[in-house]
Amino acid sequence: MFMHSLWHSVRLAAFLLLAGLAGVAAQAQSKGAPPAPVVDSMRGATPVDKESSPPILYATENKDVRRTRNYAMQPPTIPHAIDNYQVDKEFNRCMFCHARTAAEAAKSVPVSITHYMDRDNNVLADVSPRRYFCTQCHVPQADAKPLVGNNFVDVEQLLQRKPGVMGSSK
């Protein structure tokens, strides 16, 4: 019990000290130092009154070759350009070719049966509203430099790793 209350008061003291320091810092800032520039994730550190140079746009890969999925449940990526495709309440340009009835003539991959199911697994006549907006899950790809690092390992490789290696199954 004693130890507990001691720990409690130490924590309280530390908190008060920190709060005091923060207050002093805030006061110092309001007195003279200019506020730290707000960094916008889109424009980077470029000040608002300066023009930023945007990164170059990479061309969408348009080879029409189906790509391997990185994991079993991955929504397949789109192997072609979809510039200006109209997907709204009037018309769905994706379904123009990927609908069940259009797939043969268009030689496309018809969307899977799951897209016709509502959340209670009832199969509907047409694409389920919750699956209607294709690019929520399916995206085209570009051969661009990744913005962040990634050490994703396919589960098949993961299972083959020796025990003790990072990311191994044992």
């Binding site: 348009n62 080879k63 029409d64 070759v65 072609h80 350009a81 510039d83 200006n84 109209q86 709204d88 309440k89 009037e90 018309f91 340009r93 268009a106 030689k107």
Partner: protein, 195 residues
């Protein structure tokens, strides 16, 4: 006054009695050139984008949509204006289309699509007219620029090359069959099939 009109009328009814044949031939020729020039200039004026977008129906609806498409902005800057796709280029069919367009003048006067809502309600019907026209003339207005003989399939995506070398080549399909809504937003096409 009456005498004056009578005198002119006599001259007009029998011009060869008052003017030389050479003058009448040459005069008729010059007048014809002037008339034709004026007619054609006026006709071409109705083919300009400024004319089409002079009315809010076109400017606020379809022209806005066109501006987001590749037929308006692209890497080489070649672009299509309204009449390139919606008015036939050769003379006879152009005149026929222009006569049909008198109904569009009627529509303008009576405000058939004077609001966004009216336009959206009417859009499917209007689109169907254009699709029927393209289907009937084998997408002639597309082909005025996009020549099948000049298409390099190796420069198309495999998917496009496949389609063009089969359905387009054997004339089973024409451009508009697959490229509806290439320059404007599409209405609910499913409704068209119901009718």
């Amino acid at each position: 006054m009456f005498d004056l009109i009578k005198r002119y009328w006599k001259t007009i009814t029998r011009p060869s009695a008052y003017y030389s044949l050479g003058f009448l031939t040459l005069g008729g020729f010059v007048a014809g050139v002037v008339f034709w020039g004026a007619f054609n200039t006026a006709l071409e004026l109705t083919n300009t984008e400024t004319f089409c977008t002079g009315c809010h129906e076109m400017r606020d609806n379809v022209y806005q949509e066109l501006q987001t498409t590749i037929h308006f902005t692209n890497r080489s800057g070649v672009r299509a204006k309204c009449s390139d796709c919606h008015v036939p280029h050769n003379w006879t069919t152009k005149i026929a289309r222009k006569m049909q367009a008198s109904k569009e003048v009627w529509g303008k006067i009576f405000g058939t699509i004077s609001t966004r809502e009216k336009f959206l309600d009417k859009r499917l019907e209007l689109a169907q007219h254009e699709w029927a026209r393209f289907k009937a003339n084998d997408s002639l207005e597309c082909r005025n620029c996009h020549d099948y003989g000049s298409m390099d399939f190796t420069r198309q995506s495999p998917r496009a090359a496949e389609m063009h070398s089969t359905y387009l080549a054997n004339k089973e399909k024409t451009c508009i069959d697959c490229h509806k809504g290439i320059a404007h937003h599409l209405p609910d096409v499913a409704k068209a099939k119901e009718q």
